[in-house]
């Protein structure tokens, strides 16, 4: 990550604008125990109170790192009940990074955030239909399968 992804200018700009970047050495206690670290690289997105909201393990190319970080921030918004903000970030993944690995999860979570915001089932059905059309056979398409019945 340090040699390839972090020096990328788009990654630098994204992290600088959107996150507080924190590096902890992989043997530093109590953090290694508190976060149950087992392997590096491990990237964890924390909310402003320090609660873990997303974790990735393994190398990510710049073109995968940015949408992954965006998903982590969206999960912070989602977990804090900021559904509109979460949906804006998830839509950014869907439109700017539609072929990245986390795009199907973004579609799924956007549907759930829409349901949470409105209390109506249509966003869930929309999510299933987009997943089935754009990402057939994907894990998140299978997870959304019940929503086709709504």
């Amino acid at each position: 990550m340090g040699a390839v992804s972090y020096p990328d200018s788009l990654v630098v700009n994204f992290i600088t604008e959107n996150l507080i970047p924190l590096r902890i050495q992989s043997d530093a206690e109590p953090y290694v125990s508190n976060f149950k670290l087992r392997w590096t690289p491990t990237l964890i997105t924390l909310d402003p109170k320090g609660v873990e909201r997303q974790r990735t393990v393994g190398f990510l190319q710049p073109m995968e790192l940015i949408p992954s970080l965006l998903l982590g921030i969206a999960k912070v918004d989602f977990d804090m009940g900021c559904y509109v903000l979460a949906m804006e970030r998830l839509e950014r993944i869907m439109t700017e990074h539609p072929t990245c690995a986390v795009a199907p999860e973004a579609v799924y979570l956007r549907g759930v955030a829409g349901y949470k915001r409105d209390g109506a089932a249509q966003p869930l059905k929309d999510a299933y239909e987009k997943l089935n059309a754009d990402y057939p056979g994907n894990l998140w398409t299978r997870r959304a399968d019940p929503y086709r019945l709504l």
Partner: protein, 34 residues
């Protein structure tokens, strides 16, 4: 041209405090120094 770099914080408590003030999420990277 000066190459910009990620300005990493190294202190957990300071990073969380700053995140609260700026209402931002924290990217915690556990790195292997070797």
């Amino acid at each position: 041209m000066i190459q910009k770099e990620v300005e990493w914080r190294m202190d957990f408590d300071q990073a969380i405090s700053l995140a609260g003030k700026e209402n931002k999420a924290v990217l915690l990277d556990f790195f292997n120094p070797e």
